[in-house]
Amino acid sequence: MKLDKRRDFSVILLILGVLVVLPLGIGHSRYLMSVLMNCAGVAVIASGVWLTFCIGRINICQAGFALIGGYVTAILIAKAGLSFWIALPLSCLASALCGALIGSVILKLKGIYFSMLTICLTEAIRLAFLNGGDLTQGSKGITGLPQPFSGDSALPLYYLGIALLAIALGVVWRVHYSRLGGIFRAMRLNEDLAESFGVNVWRYRIMAFSIACALGGLGGSYFSVFTQSIYPQSFTVEHSIYYMLFCFLGGLEYVSGAMIGAFALTILFELLQDFQQYQSLIYGVLMIVVMLTLPNGLMALRGFSFSLPFRKGEAK
């Protein structure tokens, strides 16, 4: 466990470090910057899915909560005239509250029932925004959101994305490698047993779910200012499934799993531009191959087992 944790920490640190200095080399290319911003946003959202995997629930409604975050930001900025810096935490909070509210109802379902219900929930949230009348402007969506930063450079928005990613990873790390994480693991392995040891299962799973939803809202909010628009189609069931795939590809045992999966796949598909139209097809094949050959994700691969030279215990 110790070694795994060190490896996990090293990978996170390394990737974040590279991301921080990378604009020195590629900062002139708006395209490359936007790819990385996309990765960062997706990784924030996917880390929420990763956290719900921790409590043994397969969460396929993360796109729905990203949509909530995106719409709250868009409505607060475009309709209420608030600044982005107020809208961002508020949309995070709104998603968390929705998550707690919905979660308190649906989290008692387990396994397949939960997954099926969350798929329906993604659809329900999308339909709710589609039917939102003037507030959400139906299928037209809300467009023309102002940039939070003045000036032409993409750098501030890029660093905002990296900062959000760091915050998301920090939160998940803090949760996973603490007593709370132990409780979550216990709940995943045997919820009844955990309960019999005095764990307030109901409270903890709502806690995990609302943190996950908050991360979804955070990412959704970032995307809505990054693309300066939000539509009911911005986040769909398909996206929810991709987030799940990211987590699985990266590995469910490591906090960095969601991030690695998100970056690996998103960048891979930018490299394979010519195959853009087959993206979903390749995702499908990849998903099957991953399940058949890499049941524990990339992070568990032998060749990947490097670690920064920390002394034991130094990496917390």
């Binding site: 649906i106 397949i112 798929i119 799940m244």
Partner: protein, 288 residues
């Protein structure tokens, strides 16, 4: 009012057929076949080509649609699900595999058939006018409903009274005990998956005569199938049938009063509220 009732019953009987296939796979393998809607879609396309384009007789085309999907289901089960079920440590794995197959089928279909909506000629022309013009019942809709009910009854009889049917029920109840009784569990599981997939194909082949088909309907149909088996209880035959009719009625009533996206929003909300009180559906057993 009569019209709504008729529409609901017609939709319901076809939906019950869809839900039965899904529940069958679930009860035997504890896997939710996320690709069920995609299999439905493929069944529709087989029907479109065989019956609509090449002029096969309707019955032959319908059975071939079922058989094609049965073979696909068998292959999926043998080469994808069994290895994952045998080696995976987390129960999520088989589900993700199912999601993967759904993505795969949908996109293969998109590449092969394009996004165009396809239709076939209706089975029988003519409309039955009931109650002096109070309600209309096209003969083709009636035929689809009757054929669906026919298949449902045939399946129930098969499961109830034949040897493989009994084995299917035994495996669904307790895999190990069935194995001890000399049931060839591997074969029966494959059979169950094939039947489930074939039912999706038959449902798709039937409904293409009414609504047409396009490569994108899969997720939509899967979602509907999930709703049905959650209402009735996953893995329970009677639950699937009741769930199918409940959803059919709800849709018929909703479409009469509201725009379709609003109808589905309300259906989703109603279902979540329903699951608060009956987390295992109407007839389902608690399942972890």
């Amino acid at each position: 009012m009569l019209q709504i009732l008729i529409n609901g019953l017609i939709l319901g009987s076809a939906y019950a057929l869809i839900a039965l296939g899904l529940t069958m796979v679930f009860s035997i393998m504890r896997v939710v076949n996320f690709a069920h809607g995609q299999m439905y879609m493929l069944g529709g396309f087989v029907m479109y080509y065989l019956y609509g384009q090449f002029g096969f007789p309707f019955w032959l085309a319908l059975l071939l649609a079922g058989a094609t999907l049965g073979v696909i289901g068998m292959a999926f089960n043998r080469f994808l699900f069994q290895p994952v079920l045998a080696t995976s440590k987390r129960e999520e794995s088989s589900m993700l595999m199912a999601v993967g197959t759904a993505l795969l089928l949908e996109n293969v279909a998109l590449s092969l058939f394009g996004e165009k909506q396809r239709g076939v000629p209706t089975l029988i022309d003519g409309v039955l006018i009931l109650n002096d013009g109070d309600a209309y019942l096209p003969y083709s809709n009636l035929a689809v409903a009757l054929i669906s009910i026919g298949f449902i009854v045939a399946l129930l009889l098969f499961v109830q009274y034949t040897k493989p049917g009994r084995a299917l029920r035994a495996v669904a109840q307790d895999k190990e005990a069935a194995l001890l009784q000399g049931v060839n569990v591997k074969f029966i599981t494959t059979l169950g998956f094939a039947i489930g997939a074939a039912l999706a194909g038959i449902a798709g082949g039937l409904l293409v005569t009414l609504y047409g088909v396009n490569a994108g309907v899969g997720t939509n149909i899967s979602t509907k199938a999930f709703i049905m088996i959650m209402i009735g209880g996953a893995g329970v035959t009677s639950g699937a049938i009741v769930g199918g009719f409940v959803l059919g009625m709800a849709e018929a009533i909703g479409y009469d009063l509201l725009p379709s996206s609003m109808t589905y929003l309300l259906i989703f909300v109603a279902m979540i509220v329903f699951l608060i009180f009956k987390p295992n559906g109407l007839f389902g057993k608690p399942w972890g």
